[in-house]
């Protein structure tokens, strides 16, 4: 396994050659990956919004956005600008502190979770040891923000939406965590980088989706439920609750909810690709290709190419999943709240427990294929 491109190391070495102490160099480096990931997340949202508009139009035999830029690619930017300059309204009888803090509490954990998304061996903000567990912990903060905004709006639809969001999020967190646990058991590590490296042995054949098909389906269903996407968008079901907890929000505060839900969707898709689809791995291992072509992997030119390939593969896999999520949204009806809770507690939870047991058994029986 080669180390690949390590931008932080090269950056620090370059600064040291100018006589900057390593501690200062580290501090100068720190904001760069954060900024890049923030920009990547926001651009990802713009692309996803455009895709959502175009795919929904295709699903309903319309044209969709057309005039803003070629094929309407500038439409999401126009949407964003509209929300930015809209008047920021706080209802008179609302609790203004909680009303303002709610959307922030929804958005911040989602953005923090990007800390652990790897785009390459060294292309992530921080390879923290608790890795994927950090994401599970952070995503459990979100319902507090939803409850907060639902309560502070002083509106019965908002409160109902907030309560529904919290109930949904609690029920689906458990099967989600259990299916992640099965992967962690095979990898012997919580770190996302280790999880991808463990899948990189034989290209597409060694991806976790073949070893964890049940876990993959459970994780995808739970991720959709956590993102409040159709068929699980009960918290904002417009026919019943106007817009759920977002009813009273306008302008930039509403935009924060909007951003949060789309960033969460992209994040979930990225994590599905990291956990089950080999992350940044190419379907044919890069090592095999370089052996066939007889190129050493450690030259800087090849390193840049493999790093670029890794980023492209990660994004490609993630957007394939985003496409599936959008298609699901515009072609499936919404489930009822009792069906949603039944599915979570009576079906997904036992199945994910059984999957965990099966994985443990297979790990003991076939340590070569299921990680010894």
């Amino acid at each position: 396994m080669t180390n690949g491109l390590d931008l932080e190391y090269s950056f620090n070495e370059a600064l040291k050659s100018f006589g900057v102490p390593s501690e200062i160099a580290h501090i100068i480096w720190l904001p760069f990956p954060m900024l890049i990931v923030l920009v990547a997340a926001v651009v990802g949202v713009l692309v996803t919004v455009w895709l959502e508009r175009k795919i929904s139009a295709a699903a309903q035999q319309r044209i969709g956005p057309e005039y803003a830029g070629a094929l309407g690619v500038l439409q999401p930017i126009a949407d964003g600008l509209k929300l930015l300059v809209k008047e920021d309204i706080i209802p008179e009888k609302a609790d203004s502190i909680l009303f303002t803090a709610g959307p922030v509490l929804v958005l911040v954990p989602v953005i923090l979770s990007w800390l652990i998304v790897p785009f390459g061996q060294n292309l992530l903000i921080s390879n923290v040891g608790v890795g994927i567990f950090l994401w599970i912990a952070l995503s459990s903060i979100q319902p507090i923000g939803l409850l907060m905004s639902g309560y502070a709006s002083n509106n019965k639809y908002s409160l109902l939406g907030g309560l529904r969001a919290a109930a949904q999020s609690i029920s689906y967190e458990i099967p989600l965590a259990l299916s992640v646990l099965a992967i962690v058991m095979m990898t012997n590590s919580l770190s996302t980088v280790d999880i991808v490296n463990q899948q990189s042995g034989a290209g597409i054949l060694s991806w976790n989706i073949w070893r964890q098909p049940i876990g993959f389906v459970i994780f995808w269903i739970c991720a959709l439920a956590e993102c409040e996407r159709l068929p699980f968008d009960l918290p904002e079901a417009e026919e019943e609750l106007v817009a759920g907890y977002q009813t009273e929000y306008a302008g930039m505060k509403f935009a924060l909810f909007y951003l949060g839900s789309y960033i969460n969707l992209i994040l979930s898709a990225l994590l599905v690709s990291v956990l089950y689809l080999g992350g940044w791995g190419f379907p044919i291992p890069v090592e095999t290709i370089s052996n066939v072509l007889n190129i050493p992997l450690d030259t800087s030119f090849v390193q840049v190419i493999t790093a670029t390939l890794g980023i492209i593969m990660t994004i490609l896999k993630a957007y394939l999943l985003v496409f599936i999520a959008i298609l699901l949204r515009w072609t499936t009806p919404r489930v009822r709240i009792d069906q949603l809770l039944d599915l979570g507690w009576k079906f997904l939870l036992p199945i994910s427990l059984a999957n965990l047991l099966l994985t443990a058994g297979l790990k003991l029986a076939l340590p070569r294929f299921f990680g010894g």
């Binding site: 912990a137 459990s140 507090i144 409850l147």
Partner: protein, 199 residues
């Protein structure tokens, strides 16, 4: 002082300030909803303190269990039964306050005593395990702390069964709080609708 130490000191002071002010707010604020939200903030800052101590797994577990589960359930309960009602005036309120503050001060002095009588210096800071801690925690839970671990799970099971018994009111023929006979039963039966009147 190096930059790392200074940053740690600043983070520590901010977190401790949030914890102290937040927990005072939890106790003293009139609005129960504000108290519950502040409690979430206090739990988060405690997780921050764990992070400063290099215990990232414990910090993440703190966020997941206390903020994500316990605090959300508290909020849930408050918002589902948020009745606006005037509480009855309590007799001897002042003497009650006096007794509870005495107990709190006694507990505090006990904690201060423990704090002063222990030496908190780690023998060798390089021995701290950092990222290894997840593995070590698992080893301890399944060797020398196995009995407390299993007893805790039995306790949780008992609490769960108790909650189910209380929630399924058909087990009790009368309401435990009012003493009146239960007139409705909320049990799912395959041949009957969910909510039926009892004869």
């Amino acid at each position: 002082m190096s930059i790392a130490v200074t940053t740690q000191l600043i983070c520590f002071s901010i977190l401790s300030l949030i914890i102290i002010i937040g927990s005072l707010g939890v106790v003293l604020l009139e609005s129960i909803v504000y108290s519950a939200f502040l409690l979430g903030g206090v739990f988060m800052s405690v997780a921050g303190l764990y992070l400063l101590l290099n215990a990232s797994f414990v910090a993440a577990a703190q966020v997941l269990v206390y903020v994500g589960a316990i605090n959300v359930l508290i909020l849930f309960a408050i918002m589902l039964v948020n009745k606006k009602e005037d509480l009855k005036p309590i007799k001897y309120l002042n003497s009650r306050k006096l007794i509870s503050s005495t107990i709190c001060i006694t507990l505090l002095s006990l904690l201060v005593r423990v704090d002063l009588s222990n030496s908190w210096l780690i023998a060798d800071p390089k021995l701290s395990i950092g990222e290894e801690s997840t593995i070590r925690l698992g080893e301890h839970l399944f060797s020398d702390y196995l009995l407390p671990f299993e007893v805790a799970s039995v306790l949780l099971l008992m609490a769960m069964i108790g909650a189910i018994v209380l929630a399924r009111r058909d087990v009790l023929s009368e309401d435990i709080s009012t003493g009146l006979p239960v007139d409705q039963e909320l049990i799912e039966k395959s041949d009957k609708p969910l909510l039926i009147e009892k004869q």
